[in-house]
């Protein structure tokens, strides 16, 4: 029976071999152990020994040619056997499929995203336990002084805050014990303390004045309603407000500025904050660079930010540094109010409830329109009355006739 002789691994690391020289020719009789040919491997030139007896019927791999391990190099068998079957059976080289699953691009994207999320703020040192306690108690680590080595925040630093122990001793009351009416002392959270501090500072340092007008919201409402019928995610009113404010700020850059004492610094972009209520206070998530974003983009970002705000997961740069703030108490039924400027901005827009009311038209006729009261608080150090008034007026024009925003 004729059989094929295969290229074998003559060294453990060999992958293929080159026939340097055939020591036998077709028709020669060979015995097991005879050296048939010399094969050049990755290491040296080795002798290839026959493992069978018989006649060398056919040389399949001539001198100078290479073959992979397992490829046939010759046929040995009985004298004058019919080889047609063996020769037809062509050995197909196994595809060296090097299919590398390219998760690389995906991984690269993820890494870049994570890197973007990395904060530029100084690293806070905190023990894993303290970090966990802080998260569970909704305490931001930013304002805590750590008493561990190199300022590490440790468990006892949080214990103090949780128990409300500071220089002043505050009575801690066991809530379960309270049944009666009477004056109570409630220990303040860190958050409350910060809100109190910042808003007091704003009030006392910026001379506030207030500008008020009414805006006809019919066109915006109709547009929004139409859009929301086909939209997958309904757009919030706040997104519209933010966008229009951003457009107005572009035309009145002096509003988007900040009193520095010796100078006034104008902000390059409109980073607009929206006041959002939380369980124990309020926070202003910021949509950055609203001038360069459409309403849909603003709305999308706003949704994410508000969700984070409600879960207490906003990072500092996401709520500190708004160049302009909007406060909307319309959904609480407030028709009109004045808000306190949120630094570093120099103005804040208070938005009330949209009310359907009779208005006198150009033709002296009574028409029913949906109106909203806007009250703009301005820092007089930066924004004079006329400046503030023109901004507010332009805002009204754009909101009442959105197409005018494109002029």
């Amino acid at each position: 029976m004729a059989e094929k002789l295969l290229m074998t691994a003559l060294s453990p690391t060999m992958e293929n071999g080159l026939i340097v020289k055939w020591n036998k020719k077709e028709g020669d009789l060979i015995q097991s152990g005879d050296i048939l040919c010399e094969v050049e491997t990755d290491k040296a030139t080795m002798d290839y020994e026959s493992s069978v007896d018989g006649e060398l019927l056919k040389i399949l791999l001539p001198e100078g040619r290479k073959a992979f391990i397992g490829d046939p190099i010759a046929i040995v068998g009985d004298k004058s056997e019919d080889l047609s079957q063996l020769l037809v059976d062509s050995k197909s080289k196994p595809d060296k499929e090097t299919s590398i699953i390219s998760d690389f691009t995906h991984a690269e994207k993820e890494i870049k995203q994570l890197q973007r999320q990395k904060h530029a703020i100084d690293k806070i040192k905190v023990s894993p336990l303290a970090r966990r306690i802080a998260a569970e108690n909704m305490i931001t680590l930013h304002d805590i002084i750590g008493t561990g080595p190199e300022g590490r925040i440790v468990k006892r630093d949080l214990e103090n805050i949780i128990k409300g122990k500071k220089n002043k001793s505050i009575n801690i009351v066991n809530p379960l014990a309270i049944e009666t009416i009477g004056d109570k002392s409630i220990p303040i959270t860190e958050k409350r303390r910060i809100i109190a501090k910042r808003l007091s500072e704003s009030m006392y340092s910026a001379p506030h004045y207030y500008l008020k007008l009414s805006v006809n919201m019919d066109k915006i409402l109709s547009e929004r309603s139409e859009f929301n019928q086909v939209a997958k995610e309904k757009i919030s009113m706040n997104a519209y407000l933010i966008k229009f404010v951003a457009e107005a700020l572009k035309r009145h850059p002096m509003i988007n500025a900040n009193w520095q004492g010796d100078t006034i610094s104008k902000f390059a972009k409109a980073d607009i904050g929206l006041a959002v209520a939380q369980q124990d206070g309020l926070i202003t998530p910021i949509v950055k660079d609203c001038g360069n974003k459409g309403i849909l983009a603003v709305d999308y970002e706003l949704r994410i930010l508000i969700d984070k705000a409600k879960k207490g997961k906003l990072m500092p740069e996401e709520f500190i540094g708004a160049t302009f703030t909007i406060s909307n108490l319309g959904s609480y039924g407030i028709e009109e109010f004045t808000a306190i400027i949120n630094p570093p901005g120099s103005a804040i827009l208070a938005v009330g409830k949209i009310i359907k009311e009779p208005t006198v038209s150009m033709n002296n006729e009574i028409e029913i329109h949906s109106n909203v009261r806007l009250t703009l608080s301005c820092d007089h150090r930066v924004i004079d009355g006329v400046v503030g008034a023109s901004f507010l007026n332009d805002l009204k024009i754009m909101m009442e006739n959105p197409i005018k925003t494109l002029y």
């Binding site: 295969l6 074998t8 691994a9 060294s11 453990p12 040296a44 002798d47 493992s51 391990i69 397992g70």
Partner: protein, 326 residues
């Protein structure tokens, strides 16, 4: 060296079994070499080609229900002589779960506890104390068994050899130490690294009798081991140096350039299989076509072993953590 044995005093069946076993080892090892070349077997692979008479002749003296065999990593021959099926050995070489060691041992660690084949040991000389411990148990339990502990000329200078022989003698352990001297420890001619050339004296420091015999004659191996085994059963350990030769390199990656072609040819002329075959032909204990039939059977068994190994399952990934502790 002794004169060739008088073959006529043996039973034909006995001789045919010896011949068949040697041929089986030969064909199996040739197949193993091929399979290694096709990368079906990986790592170290030490072939027994040329040394068949040693495992066949020595293990033929044993009753494996009460006796034990331990050897080094050149263990394929011993495994076959202990009765482990070729297909189970090949499956182990292929790393399959149907292998004798369930794919966890490989070429150097063939085991069959039931047949008292306790390896297959990878560390040179590392198994000699272990074999001595097996003999210790036999003596402790007052059993009738003996231990054959085989190792190569590369092991004989290991401390473990000397420590073991000393303790075997002081405690009268039933053990026969067999040094299969195939003349080369890997690539080193044993004469370059031994202070004595005739290892028969290596037991003398421990008052253990030693003998040097011809490992190319299976009947000589048989007879001498038989004597040693019966002495061992009485609690007298002994040592035999069996001079043999391997026709291939130390392992698959050894081109064996450290010996001359002439030397190899000289020993090929002393092929233990041919020696026995020719004697048997001479005495009409076997006909040529009978021999060829046996050879063909051995080749078929080897091919079937490969097929079995190919078709067998790989161990499951859970086998990784199995059998670390009991």
């Amino acid at each position: 060296m002794n004169q060739p044995r008088d073959i006529s005093k043996y039973e034909m069946k006995f001789l045919i079994n010896l011949l068949k076993e040697m041929l089986l080892i030969r064909r199996f090892e040739e197949k193993t070499g091929q399979m290694y070349g096709l990368k079906k077997i990986g790592g170290f692979c030490h072939l027994y080609i040329g040394q068949e008479a040693v495992s066949v002749g020595s293990i033929a003296t044993l009753d494996l229900k009460k006796d034990y065999v331990l050897t080094s990593y050149r263990d394929h021959g011993h495994a076959i002589s202990c009765g482990i099926e070729p297909k189970v050995i090949m499956a182990e070489l292929f790393g399959k779960s149907t292998g004798c060691s369930r794919g966890k041992g490989g070429s150097m660690h063939l085991f069959d506890a039931e047949k008292h084949m306790l390896g297959g040991n990878g560390i040179v000389g590392g198994h000699i104390p272990v074999a001595t411990g097996v003999a210790f148990k036999i003596s402790y339990k007052k059993e009738d068994g003996v231990v054959l502990c085989s190792f190569g000329d590369g092991s004989i200078h290991m401390g473990s050899f000397h420590e073991s022989l000393n303790m075997a003698k002081i405690w009268n352990l039933p053990i026969v130490y067999i040094c299969e001297n195939n003349q080369y420890g890997m690539g080193t001619d044993f004469k370059r690294v031994s202070s004595v050339e005739n290892f028969a004296v290596m037991g003398a420091s421990y008052n253990i009798p030693g003998k040097q015999i011809n490992g190319m004659d299976v009947l000589e191996v048989y007879e001498e081991t038989l004597k040693a085994v019966s002495e061992a059963r009485k609690g007298n350990p002994s040592f035999i140096e069996i001079k043999t030769y391997r026709y291939r390199g130390h392992s698959m990656s050894d081109p064996a350039k450290y010996r001359t072609k002439d030397e190899l040819e000289e020993y090929k002329a002393q092929d233990p299989i041919l020696i026995l075959k020719n004697k048997m032909l001479e005495h009409n204990f076997i006909a040529l076509d009978e021999y060829e039939q046996i050879d063909k059977e051995c080749k078929t068994l080897s091919e079937e072993a490969v097929q079995f190994a190919e078709e067998s399952q790989e161990p499951s990934i859970t086998a990784l953590y199995e059998d670390i502790l009991i």
